[in-house]
């Protein structure tokens, strides 16, 4: 079993990495690209039954910073 936490910068936060990536994509011939955002994907292997509440707590307090980021938690069985 594993949990995947995706952490993305909030829309209002400057994401220079996303902007630079979009530019580079255009250079590589993907002219029609819209906005690009670069975030994190955290894959957590879980030996037992996941404690979802605890995972949310960890995703919120440790893996993301609510001032600048949103997170999504997915459990993969």
């Amino acid at each position: 079993m594993k949990a995947i936490v995706t952490v993305m910068p909030k829309p209002s936060v400057l994401d220079p990495q996303g902007a630079a990536t979009a530019e580079a994509m255009k250079h590589l011939g993907l002219e029609s690209v819209g906005r690009v955002r670069v975030g994190k994907s955290i894959e957590i292997e879980l030996p037992g039954e996941p404690n979802e509440e605890k995972l949310h707590e960890i995703a919120r307090d440790l893996l993301s910073n609510p001032v600048i980021e949103d997170y999504a938690l997915e459990i993969v069985r």
Partner: protein, 237 residues
Amino acid sequence: MKFAVLRFPGSNCDQDCIHALSTFPGTEADYVWHKDTSLGGADVVVVPGGFSYGDYLRTGSIARFSPIMKTVKEFAAAGGLVIGICNGFQILCESGLLPGALVRNRDLHFLCKHVFLRVEQTDTPFTNASAKGAVLNVPVAHGEGCYFADDETLQRLNAEGRVLVRYCDAQGQVNEASNPNGSKENIAGICNEGRNVFGLMPHPERACDPFLGSTDGSVIFQSLLNWPTSPLRKSAA
């Protein structure tokens, strides 16, 4: 005055802070290990720069869970003086002792150079030895020093006079060209509501020795030393 310089795994400006402090008469400075829970009777806590926990995940994100941080929070809540420099500022933001967050520099590169700072407020333990509008030459060295806060927070910071230093040019003009990392409103350092917790990205400890190009950083440490007898203290209180 007694200073506690915190040491997290990955702190690397801890020795520099101790050295810089040792050049001021009347100071006593000791390391405090992150696994400890006592500040050893210190008057001021220094959270030094570096890469605590490798800055993995997010700068300062793991350090905030170290045992000593609980003590620091209690100390700050009781009015104790706390200064966070560079990674220390990042840790204070992550811990919720200061609002906002530090994100990746606008141009994505680590940046090490001297910058100018304009002193915005002097009624604080950290800036009282300076003059309002004074321009300080102090180095920065960071990859994630772009200060971000939402509009509401920024408004409050401004309204309450909590932005203590902003990036500016040599003449003290705050403009886009003098913003080294894309920080909102050129913010280089802020304090908390109680004005006893200060975080800044530039390194004052690197600007206390004429052989290192500038001594302008010493005004911050001098302010701390002056604070117990400062006339500004009463008006602030």
